[in-house]
């Protein structure tokens, strides 16, 4: 083999190895879908899909077993909704402040500090929700239960806040300078420019950040497992304990559930539900972002 042939062979080998690294991600996806699908099908051999979708009770760990996913979905939706009520206004306003009002130095200092907020481990937020936010809220609402959706939701809102503000800010920053200058030249105030020019122009990017934040919220586990309780109540009352899909998976994983039992299979069925919800939201978010990209380039 000549030197050149040797070299070509080596190049091909390296390329192949690198390709395998990249292709591993496809196996990961296949693995996720495969595992979820396999156990979910096993689950539906024992429980009818109609019961899963329509029963209003979720009690797989009790003697009188009911397999209605609705209470878990309702709990997940409730906590995520509260989180969005916190993250959307705060995130949007701080994005406007950072992109339109703040000077460069303030922006350069505050943005990385907000990123730290996103880097705090979620078990820490759970501790804070249970042992700080709940007692404080109980002084305002005396009938608030020790485990509740409200404090978990508020803290989760703070957790996803950096995601909303940083992605929205990027979208607003990309709005062409000329559009804003035009509005300022017509005598508009900063508030008017923000509300009538910047936000509408960046709307699909902003919406994309909201949807992605919602997807993060419904997949978040430790805050709700610690602070929201572990009682699958079908309720929209934020003052009582609820259980989310993720908290249920944790609850079962902590116990000694033998593989192959129906209790074991429920966590995969619940996981499949969660996976489908987040996948749908992520796809909507990507679609919104791609649409935005087309507008100004």
């Amino acid at each position: 083999m000549t030197k050149r042939e040797k070299q070509r062979f080596r190049e091909g080998l390296i390329k192949g190895a690198l390709f395998l690294c990249a292709f591993l991600s496809v196996f990961t996806t296949i693995g996720i879908i495969g595992v979820l699908l396999f156990e979910t099908i096993e689950f539906f051999k024992e429980v009818s899909i109609v019961e899963f979708m329509t029963d209003t009770q979720w009690t797989p760990l009790f003697v009188d077993k009911h397999f209605g996913i609705m209470p878990l979905v309702a709990g997940t939706a409730l906590v995520s909704f509260i989180a969005m009520c916190v993250a959307v206004p705060l995130g949007l306003l701080s994005a406007i402040y950072l992109s339109e009002c703040a000077n460069k130095k303030f922006r350069a200092t505050v943005k990385p500090m907000l990123e730290i907020l996103a880097g705090v481990p979620t078990v820490v937020y759970g501790y804070f929700a249970l042992l700080f936010v709940t007692p404080v809220l109980q002084k305002i609402f005396p009938d608030l239960s020790g485990f509740n959706a409200l404090s978990a939701g508020i803290v989760m809102g703070i957790m996803i806040l950096p995601m909303v503000s940083s992605m929205s800010e990027d979208a607003m920053y990309a709005v062409p300078r000329a559009l804003k200058d035009g509005a300022y030249a017509l005598g508009a105030t900063r508030f008017q420019v923000s509300m009538t020019v910047v936000v509408p122009a960046a709307l699909s990017g902003i919406m994309s950040s909201f949807v992605l934040a919602a997807s993060r919220a419904i997949g978040e586990t430790m805050i709700v497992a610690i602070a929201a309780g572990q009682q699958p109540n079908l309720t929209l009352n934020p003052f009582v304990p609820v259980e989310t899909i993720t908290a249920y998976i944790v609850q079962v994983s902590l116990g000694d559930t033998p593989t192959g039992t129906i209790e074991y299979k429920t966590i995969f069925a619940a996981g499949m539900t969660l996976f489908l919800f987040t996948l749908a939201l992520n796809m909507v978010s990507t679609w919104l972002r791609e649409r935005f990209r087309e507008e100004y380039t």
Binding site: R10, L18, S25, S94, M113, F132, T189, G219, M222
Partner: protein, 285 residues
């Protein structure tokens, strides 16, 4: 009041409101840190770091959790870093514009959005059951590696993309092969950015609790692991275990554990932010 004055007033009010919203997140972070330090600061001691967990809160420590965390971090880095950088190089430098690459790209973007607990279910189904690795360090590290891979891949690609094409052209003009160009020119130049991504990925992995609970990591471990096949616990799980108990003394332990965890996480994050900052400043192509 004139229209103009009203507009100015609204504008002033709006700016203040927006400023307060921006500060709100930081204020929350400050309260959180003050609360945790005041709850658990007094509990921190050498004994707390060097004791095993115990039924008695005053004697309990985080030794096994801390050692488990170090093991998991090391192994995760060992798996995820070469795989992530390799995948990033392939996608950015080799496989451009072919449909398979496009598929892999979409796939990685989707994986980045999958909730961490789903990775736990994957680990449970594949590593624990199919490969019979049980609830070992290896299972935990493999699961977390898959979880953080997208972060490393995306960081690698972005850093590689920032290297000007002229650098590569110069290298090719001298007769270097593609791999020689990558390994001696592009990759070293992109290294600070990649390193930042790696550190951020590890700081994510250090705080992950849900996937490790799902694969069945134990919450009470009173020995140190000797090999990658031993059972383990990590700091966030130990904290979770203590938070879940009703006694106040254990909550204090949890707070002290959180201080240690926060110091580790914030340290990694600051290194990453510092690196990024330094790198952005120094190199101007």
């Amino acid at each position: 009041m004139k229209r103009l004055e009203l507009n100015k007033l609204i504008d002033r009010g709006f700016t203040v409101l927006a400023f307060v919203s921006t500060i709100a997140g930081l204020a929350f972070l400050a309260i959180l840190i003050i609360d945790v330090v005041s709850d658990g600061g007094g509990r921190l001691s050498w004994q707390f770091l060097s004791n095993f967990p115990s039924r008695m809160a005053e004697k309990a420590g985080i030794l096994s959790a801390l050692v488990g965390t170090v093991w998991i971090m090391g192994l995760t880095a060992l798996f995820a870093v070469p795989l992530g950088i390799g995948a990033g190089i392939y996608l950015e430098e080799y496989g451009k514009k072919n449909p398979l690459t496009r598929l892999i790209e979409i796939n990685i973007a989707n994986l980045a959005g999958v909730p961490s607990i789903i990775y736990g279910l994957l680990g449970l189904g594949v590593f624990v059951r199919l490969m019979s690795l049980e609830r070992s360090l290896l299972t935990g590290a493999l699961t977390l590696s898959l979880l953080v891979l997208p972060i490393i891949i995306i960081a690698t690609r972005e850093s590689l993309r920032a290297i000007p094409y002229s650098i590569k052209e110069a290298s090719f003009a001298l007769g270097a092969t593609q791999w020689q160009t990558i390994s001696r020119q592009t990759l070293p130049a992109a290294m600070p950015g990649i390193l930042t991504g790696v550190i951020l990925a590890l700081s994510r992995a250090i705080g992950e609790t849900a996937p490790l609970i799902t694969i069945g990591a134990l919450t009470y471990i009173a020995f140190l692991p000797h090999s990658v096949f031993d059972p383990f616990t990590v700091l966030p799980i130990q904290i979770f275990n203590w938070v879940s108990r009703p006694q106040e003394a254990f909550a204090t332990n949890a707070a002290a554990g959180i201080i240690v965890l926060l110091i580790l996480t914030l340290m990694l994050n600051s290194i990453a932010i510092y690196l990024r900052h330094k790198y952005q400043k120094r190199i101007k192509w």
